[in-house]
Symmetry: C3
Subunit: 297 residues, 3 copies
């Protein structure tokens, strides 16, 4: 994508996809708000619908709209440094504690519970993705375990403040297997080129996590929110799963339509895809005039 | 610089430049202390004068005293890994929250306000440095955006506990452009060899930030400090800009003179510059007997 | 080690070495518990015996049981990237604050004191290891200073909540020199192949730190624990050094015997050492089917 186009895209996307969605889910009186008078109360503790479905689905729309990289999928395009990917995933895992536990907005029992759920979800998904790989390839890779961890972090995000450690293990475990299938089987079948697997991990993991939040949410882990009333399936209130489905469907449609319109606008004004010779040269050089490494120096 | 010389330099510098300066600004009854009876009350929340002006100006003195690297500026000397620079800047940004918000010495409204100001200052400077680059080169680089972010972090440091988010945007925006000009135009004009741009970013950004603190400081963002009285220009108390100027001038002179004397002393005892053959071999090998990478292994 | 074997080993080790040891030292009524009715009250604030002696001694048992890497020690096997080692050590240092200060279980005076002790211990050990290197090789290396920092972090871990900053400096200083001798002199003499120096840093540093905790523990730095009574040698209660010795001896024997039995079990079921051709190919490829870098892409 052109750098200038990506700047305009990001700005428009923030205002017309992210911000309205955040208001609907977290704002007072928002359509999907679960605690302050929304029409369809959707549980989303730290951003499963608002952050991960919107971004993941939008990434899919971009990948489909922009088409594949030159040479994909015939030419192998492995990530250039697994070492840096691994370090990045570790920093992400730690940072996610701030993201999920911080969504309790105060230090206390709820933030601690969200912290623990986050860790358990990520660990279970790292394991289950590795197991799936082992099942398929007879080997578990480091790339698989970190992909799994991120999938687990994504899936536990909407649920973190509503579920206990055992439910977090279940959500993470399912997310690791589901996202593994999405980025291997489904992506190959559908044929889109999503180099970071933003859809397969964030879109798919966010969708699964948001739905499972309806299943596993329990009043006992969020007394402030539930105020003593049942909130999710494990509390016997299965209607929440239906509301979660409505919230998820809304996030999908909103991201699909919004991103498509924004892409059309950006394409008309600036253009989205770089010229072929720029792509072959590499975006570092053609868009930013710099290289990642100067090893000869 | 010789490693042994740098150890002696650092030790002397800590005792004879940093420590007295910290006492003058933050210590009870210090000459520049703003809250506990100083003669020239200088506002410096987390170290604009104490940390960044002293270190940046001292770096300039060192660069001028020691001279250029062999081959500079004819031979290109790009940083060897932009990837690591970027990771480093990200870690720095996160760590700076601890530095600035932590200077409130307690969790609460003031630390939250300093946290937000820090983020806004860094983001605005990353943007404005990139814009300046774009204006000049038709391209914005990753190196530019992280340099801008650090410039913004530096400039917001003295102001963090005294200004609101909009003032932080203004301070950061100005710092990004000012430091960009310092490390491109001014450095080229003056001809010194400051490989990390310690002066252009920390010295210049710290000076600008300290002066702008006097302009933007508002009592409403620091009720503990102001105790209901106006503190800076936006409160109508423009005299503070004058005090900031005195504090800045003092930090400059203190760093200039102190560092020059210390360099003379270190040069006399141990020597500061390595021999030419050691420099050509590289300081990793000649000073520490090790290499950064052993990629053949 | 085979990846499958290492998974089984880790699982068994957690249940049969770590968990019982943690119960004995920190659990109510545990044999070595110092605050809740143990027979031999051993002071261990954040895991000198429980974490570092057990893991370090177990690493030694593994290194002896599995034998040397092919070519060791004739073929040089330097770490491939000092840059990443350095970044890792820095992240570890910061993370360790969470580990040690967090062991106070609440924010307050005790966590602050443990935080400061951790920093002082790490810094002093980085210095003393570098001094030892300088004494021996006329040069201090970056690898040495980070090894020293980790040695200091390990040694201060059991002591962090019981000692003041000056004692932390002393513990760290001694740990840096002691661990330097262990990973240079002792390892060469004993001839085992411990590629990460898990024994020389964690085993040796943990042992020294646990013993010195008995010497330096002072009631004034842990009023909750001591409840006004003397706790360590500096309080005049030298008997604690004897108890520390019992705790250390117990951790050693438990780790030695437990790890040896677990290795035998894993070796019988799965096997522990990879085949020679897998080792020559490298474990990344043979065990995980991936490479750390794809620099040609």
């Amino acid at each position: 994508m052109k750098f200038s186009g990506s700047l305009l895209f990001t700005t428009l996307w923030f205002f017309f996809v992210y911000a309205p969605m955040a208001h609907m889910v977290w704002g007072k009186g928002g359509l999907l708000n679960a605690g302050l008078g929304g029409r369809f109360p959707t549980l989303d503790f730290a951003g499963g619908t608002v952050v991960h479905i919107t971004s993941g689905v939008s990434a899919l729309v971009c990948a489909l709209y922009m088409g594949k990289r030159i040479g994909y999928p015939k030419q192998p395009m492995p990530p250039h440094s697994l070492v840096l990917s691994f370090i990045g995933a570790c920093l992400l895992w730690v940072g996610w504690f701030g993201f999920n536990a911080g969504s309790a907005l105060a230090s206390g029992g709820l933030s601690t519970s969200a912290f623990v759920a986050t860790h358990f979800g990520a660990a279970a998904a790292a394991l289950s993705w590795s197991l799936a790989e082992y099942w398929k390839n007879d080997r578990a890779s480091a790339l698989g375990s970190i992909s799994g961890a991120v999938a687990g972090l994504v899936a536990i995000t909407p649920a973190a403040g509503f579920v206990g450690p055992l439910s977090a293990l279940a959500i993470g475990f399912l997310a690791g297997i589901f996202c593994y299938l999405m980025v291997t089987k489904f992506k190959a079948m559908a044929g889109y080129d999503d180099s970071l697997d933003a859809f397969g991990v964030h879109g798919a993991g966010g969708t699964l996590g948001a739905l499972l939040t309806g299943v596993f949410a329990q009043q006992v882990f969020n007394p402030i929110f539930g105020k003593g009333k049942p909130i999710g399936g494990l509390d016997g209130r299965w209607a929440q799963v239906g509301y979660q489905f409505i919230g998820v469907a809304f996030a999908w449609i909103f991201a699909l339509v919004g991103t498509l319109i924004i892409l059309k606008v950006v394409d008309a004004i600036i253009g989205v895809r770089v010229r072929d010779e720029e792509e072959v040269q590499g975006l570092d050089l053609s868009q930013h005039g710099e290289e990642a490494y100067n090893l000869e120096s």
